[in-house]
Structure formats: structure tokens, C-alpha cells
Symmetry: C2
Subunit: 447 residues, 2 copies
């Protein structure tokens, strides 16, 4: 999913604001001369705004051996700059009645503030400042590395589900950087240096690697003027390369793993399959997979729930998951938590039989219609959520999609047929690219 | 020119003596001023010599995403230099009645010539020339990339055992570069560029990253004088960094995989465990693992063979393998090929039961003595093999060991006790770090 920026595309994008309307979302998009993309989503119902900056780099862009540097840098972005004290940005946001935070994922790192609509300039002044003026010390690294290690302790080391997930992921990907945890492998996090962090910062924290998304009670022309004033003066990084991660070789071996931990209260099975992602101008198969996940395991009325939780009470929980929003191939996941007295082996067989039965029977047209209607409704409700809108565009633009892709998506979902869903299931739910994980209670310590 | 470690290869390799006694080897070692290490092993019984250069870089030193570059460069080292035509080196060796070749592994790349003892200077002149004067063209890359892809076709794509092994390896290592094939992932080999190759060449092909091993009918002082004349004038690479590959996070999940292929004539099971390697000054556990492999699966008198091939005829072949010669943690492997009518599941259970029985029963002192005696004998025979001696020192020096480590090894092996072998088995043969691969015949094509 590599977007070739044609000369024409660049000229159009920089010369003309594109007023693209998706249902009732009023979206304006333009590019600054230094390559920074700006998206404005107007919503004038309340005098608030969300100011977000999305960097098109995440943990999957880290060099091998320095996992966790993207996330550590996210923490360090709240330290001192040439113009701000450490912590000053967040304190200022809070003093102005707002809230701010940041998050790191495989494909992006994002920073946001939610504040009153008249504070936009202040946000831009501070956010543009830390894009280039961060002043890190070795002490900063040491302190924040300890914070991250503690975060890893509480979120991963003390959480068997997270440890299980990390290793499933490492087995799912033979070569792609999605096989490494976003927070980083502990021993690599322990070794992260100021040099590692600065190299990452200097490469990726540049306007031509960023998308600014401002949503809420804002005027696009005012956003443009301020963006030019604050972000437009920052030079592009001429050395920024096209995003290209190591890709997967053909996967032709069904994999399994068992994970035993004394802290596991409830054993369960997770099955993941390598699955195609949403690609620009080519979202149809992803849409079919999205609906497949909904139909198979999207709630208590889903196929797996009906078959395994209600019909024969094999499971106390079933689920299927697919988001498709990633730059490179992602996974389609299923989970089954067996009922009391049902073994993991029985549960897995029941799940596989249910999926095979589903593929054989085909999609129930009434269920498909019901799910499509629910999707429409949730998409309409989602428009009420200013944060959610900004996230939706920011995430899409950071994973190789365009505004048009975001706006086409609801209609593409509605157009998916039952046959396409079954075809997607046949294509993707194949043993050769799968990992089956058994999360087990450690009943006794061996030896 | 690659030594792909397929299961079959391992099976065949066990027939050969591997380690040689070194007490009576006449070894001289010195360093040139530019950091190049030189080892001379004298053997004056025949007027021949082996001239080898070992670069301390292999596929595990490749940047992520450019797998195969070490091996491609090995091929390209036979192209033109400032002073030689493409192919001239090998043609000259052949015209002088010798033979030459090269090989790439995870931790090293080595080039050797075996010639009459009076041709040493000629070998050094040519080998030192290509250390720095290689003149590659884009056409060279294109041509040799095709050669390597064809090599990959014949050795890997057309060989289910090799494909199976590649994916087992990728599952064994979550993070370390040992998880990638030495020959490279096909799609990455296809993309290797002149720039990739030159970057690797300029980093690693330097005297301070090389060990010269000359064995045979040579005089150490003459070797020194010639080495200074030819290699000593090449400047060290001041930017060469310490070797540090991404290391493994804790592995706590037993993994399994099934690989089905219509071309599989004989299904089998491969079990691998992450295992410590030989480390300088600290080879005792590796020695215990080495003997464990010999006792468990080192031939028809081994424990697994007796239990599973003769006592109850569950298997037609069993084997256990451990070399321990790698820079970073390696694997301990077991193989079982079930007899006709025995399922893979039954065979695996039988193998696990046999190993558990072995650990419980302890080592038979008579068997241990017999194996130690055989090792002594094979070490003595190995001294007759001039190539083997040079390989033994070159490989050791390229995987973090010293001459002393090589020379201590036979005595360390002899000192291992049955208790140490059982302790090593308990430490290393644990499910949490294991991969179990089922190689299966594809009976039918699904769907």
C-alpha cells in the first residue's frame, strides 16, 4: 500500500481545498508547502475542538533490535523543548480546561488535545514546537525508560493474556515487524539510548511525515492560516523514505501454541489468520472480512454465539475480530472460551465445525441485512463523536488510505453480498496461515 | 554455495566425525597490526595447504528486510576486481591444480582454496585483492541474483523439507535473526540491490573482521611474512561495530506446526528446543548437551534408537542433534520418522515418553564411556583432515570462541558426567521453548 504522489496529485492537493462531503461530515483537506497534510472536520454543535497530529511511523517502523523506541519517544514528547518546560504542554492544556494524551500503534503515533474552540492557536504553537524543538537529556531517557518498563510490567508481564498475545503475534509473523510488541521486548527497551530515540525523532518527526486533523467548531480557513503560521515554517525532512517494511514470505504451515500460567482463571483459545488489509481504492475484500467477523462473532446474535453458546452450550464466550486498518497485512481473529467441563480440544473442534458449517450453509440474508442496518446506525451515531471522527480520518490517512476511502467505506460495506463473505472466508480462513493458541491454567509445576 | 541445514543434511552429517582432538595440533596464532587474526596449523605430511579466510559476518548480521545479502555477496566475490577478471580467481586455482569454493552461514562467510604448498603467495595475492578491490556492476547483481534465485528454487522451493525447516526456524525465533533463512526470503532476494551488497561489503570485508586460517605444509614465519605483505597493507574499517544481534525475549509458549505437501514421501516429526551455545571459557553445558544428543540420538546404538526402533518398532529412524557452534543461542533438535502404521501422534508420544524415561533412568555409565571413547577416536582421525582442521578453527573463531576453547573442548567433553547430562536435559528439553513440527503427506487437496 504505497501511495505514489503524482505531480498532479500534489498540485491539486496544494492548490485547491477539496471539499469532500461524506454524508454529513464536512471535511476540508489541504497540504502545506512542506508536505504536511491537514484535514479539517467541521462540527459546530459545541464550541470545542480536537487537535491531533498523526505521525506516519509506529512500532513497525522501528529498526530491528530497538523495539519500543516509537513508544518511548511518545512518552518523551512531553519533556522539555527549547520553549517549554517538561510537562508544560499538558499542564497548559489542563489549565485551559482541556485534556491531552498520545498513543502509539504499529503504524502511527498520535498526539491530541481536546479543548475549547478558541484555544486552537495555543495548541498549534505547543504541538509544532515539540515537533522539532525537543531537548532530551540522558536523564530523561533513563527516567522514562523506567516508566515504560513499569508500564510493561503492569500491562504485559503481570498479564498472562498479554504475554500470550505477544507470542502468538511473534509466531503469526515470520518476518514482518508486526510480529514485535508495540511496547517493545523488555530487554530491548532496557537498552534504548538517547541516540536511538533521537535517530527516530529526527527521521520521522517532520511535517512531511505528519497529518494534522482538527475536528469540531473550527473554520477551515482559520485552521489553514494557523497551520501555515506554526507548522508551515518547519522544513520538510528531505531524507524521509517511502514506507517499506520487511514483508511476509509465503506461510504454508499451520501453527499452534500452548501457554500455561498459574494466573489463568479461564482457559481459552485464540485463532488468528493472516488477512489482507484495507487498501486504497481496493477495500472490497476487507469489507467482506469485516462483515464476516460481525456475522461470525460480532455479539450474542452472531453465528458462533448461537451455535456454541446457546444451541449446544460448548462455550461461554465466542468472538471474531477484524479491523483491516493497517498498512500491511493484518489478522482475522477468533476466540472461544469453553464452558465448564468442555476441554479446549472439544471447544476447538466445535469452533472449526461451526465455521465449516457456516461456510457450507452460506450467509443468512436476514442476518446480513440486520447487521448492515446496525452498521449504518452506528456510523450515524459515530458522527456525534468529534474525537472518533478525528481518529477515523487520522488512522486511515496513517495506514495508506485516503479521505475518499474513508468516505466510501460505509457504502462498500453495504454493497457486500453473502457470496463475497463466504468467498472471503474460504480465502482467508485457511490452516496454512493460521496460529491457534491455547491459553491454559497451569495446574501443576512439572518436575 | 550454501550449506542449508535440512533435516536430511543433518542426518547425513552425523555419519561424519565432527570434532577433532587438538592437543597435538601445532597451532600458531598472531594478529596483524590492522587487527586481522591469523592462525597457522602445521601438518607436514603432504605438500599441500588450505588457505581460508573467514569473515565474521553471516546472514544473521544482515539488516532486517535484506535477507540473503551475505550469501549473494559470497557469490559476487568471484566477479571482477581491479586486478582480476570475473572468474579469474577460480580459474587460476584450477590451473594450479587446486580447488576453491566458499560458504555462508548464520555467523560467518568463508572462502577457501586447497592447493600445492608452494602456491600460498598466489592465493594470498588473489584473496587479499578481492577483500577490497571488488568492482561490481548492476549487471553482476542482476545475473547473480538470478543464479541465487535458481539455487533457492532447487534447494528450497522444490524441497518440502527445506520449506518445513525454514518455517520451523521462523517460529523458533521470535526476534533473533537466526529465524531467517541463510539464503534469504525469496521476495527479499528478488529486491537485493547493488547498494545493499556494497553496504554489506564495505562494512564487513575488512581485515579487522577476518580470520585467516592456513593449514597444511606451511611455515608460520613464512605465512606471517606473506600475510603482512598482502593483508597487512589493507586498512582496518574503523567503523566496524561489536557484533550484537537482536536477542530473544523469554519464550514461554510451546509451539507446534503442521506442514502438508503432496511431495512428502515419508512423514516425520522434528522437535527443536532453544538451547545455549558454546561460549568462551564456558563450554560445560554445551558439552553436556553435545553428549546428550549423542546418547539420545547419535546412531543406531543410541537410546531413542534402542527404545523406538528396536524395542517396540515405533520408528524407522530417530535422531538428536546439537552442535552448539553459534554466536547466539541455538537449538537442540530431535527427529522421529514413524514406522508404517504408526501415526505421527503415536510417534510423538513415544518419543516424549522415551525422553522422560531416559531422564528418569539416568545415563548408563557404560554407554557414556563408549561414546566418550568413540569421540576420542573420531577426534584423532579428524586430525588427518587438513580441511577439517582449518574449518574447526575458523568456525570457532567466527562464533566467539578462542583457540584455547577449541583445544579445551575434547577434555571438557571427556569430563562430562551422567548427572550433568541429565541436568542439561532437564534445563533445555522444556516445552515452553520448543517447536514441534509435523511434516505430513498431503493426502488430498481441500476445497
Amino acid at each position: 500500500m504505497i501511495r505514489a504522489l503524482t505531480i498532479l496529485g500534489v498540485m491539486l492537493a496544494t492548490a485547491l481545498p477539496v471539499f469532500a462531503q461524506s454524508n454529513k461530515e464536512l471535511v476540508t483537506s489541504f497540504k502545506l508547502e512542506n508536505g504536511m497534510q491537514v484535514i479539517v472536520v467541521e462540527d459546530h454543535r459545541a464550541p470545542v475542538l480536537q487537535h491531533m497530529i498523526w505521525y506516519r511511523n509506529g512500532s513497525a517502523d522501528e529498526p530491528h533490535g530497538v523495539s519500543g523506541v516509537a513508544h518511548l519517544l511518545e512518552h518523551l514528547m512531553f519533556k522539555a523543548t527549547d520553549n517549554m518546560e517538561s510537562g508544560e504542554l499538558s499542564a497548559t492544556v489542563a489549565a485551559n480546561g482541556g485534556r491531552d494524551n498520545a498513543f502509539t500503534s504499529y503504524d502511527y503515533t498520535a498526539y491530541f488535545q481536546r479543548v475549547a474552540a478558541d484555544r486552537l492557536e495555543l495548541m498549534m504553537r505547543m504541538e509544532s514546537d515539540r515537533m522539532v524543538n525537543l531537548r532530551l537529556t540522558p536523564e530523561n531517557i533513563q527516567t522514562e525508560r523506567d516508566v515504560v518498563l513499569e508500564e510493561r510490567n503492569s500491562r504485559v508481564e503481570n498479564n498472562p493474556r498479554a504475554l500470550f498475545g505477544e507470542q502468538m503475534n511473534a509466531i503469526q509473523y515470520y518476518n514482518h515487524t508486526y510480529g514485535r510488541p508495540v511496547i517493545g521486548w523488555r530487554r530491548e527497551v532496557e537498552e534504548l539510548s538517547l541516540e536511538n530515540v533521537l535517530a527516530f525523532y529526527r527521521t520521522y518527526y517532520a511535517p512531511n511525515n505528519a497529518t494534522l486533523v482538527v475536528s469540531g467548531d473550527v473554520d477551515p480557513e482559520q485552521v489553514r492560516a494557523l497551520a501555515e503560521q506554526y507548522y508551515g515554517v518547519i522544513p520538510a525532512n528531505p531524507d524521509l523514505r517511502e514506507r517499506a517494511r520487511p514483508q511476509e514470505p509465503p506461510q504454508t504451515a499451520a501453527r499452534r501454541m500452548t501457554f500455561k500460567d498459574a494466573r489463568v482463571a479461564q482457559p481459552y483459545i485464540n485463532r488468528s489468520y493472516l488477512a489482507p488489509e484495507r487498501n486504497t481504492g481496493d477495500q472490497e475484500q476487507a469489507a467482506a472480512l469485516y462483515l464476516l467477523a460481525e456475522i461470525l462473532g460480532g455479539g450474542t446474535t452472531s453465528y458462533l454465539a448461537e451455535q456454541l453458546q446457546f444451541e449446544n452450550q460448548t462455550a461461554v464466550y465466542t468472538g471474531a475480530f477484524y479491523s483491516g486498518q493497517s498498512l500491511d497485512p493484518t489478522t482475522f481473529d477468533m476466540v472461544i472460551v469453553p464452558a465448564e467441563g468442555v476441554t479446549l480440544e472439544q471447544a476447538e473442534t466445535a469452533m472449526d465445525d461451526a465455521v465449516a458449517g457456516f461456510i457450507k450453509a452460506g450467509v443468512d440474508p436476514e442476518q446480513l441485512d440486520r447487521i448492515k442496518m446496525q452498521l449504518r446506525a452506528s456510523q450515524i451515531y459515530a458522527r456525534d463523536n468529534v474525537d472518533g471522527i478525528a481518529n477515523r480520518y487520522g488512522r486511515a490517512l496513517s495506514t495508506g488510505l485516503t479521505i475518499k476511502d474513508v468516505q466510501d467505506w460505509p457504502d462498500i460495506l453495504q454493497a457486500v453480498t453473502g457470496e463475497q463473505i463466504i468467498a472471503a472466508a474460504r480465502d482467508v480462513l485457511i490452516p496454512e496461515t493460521s496460529v491457534t493458541g491455547w491459553m491454559m491454567r497451569q495446574e501443576e509445576v512439572s518436575q
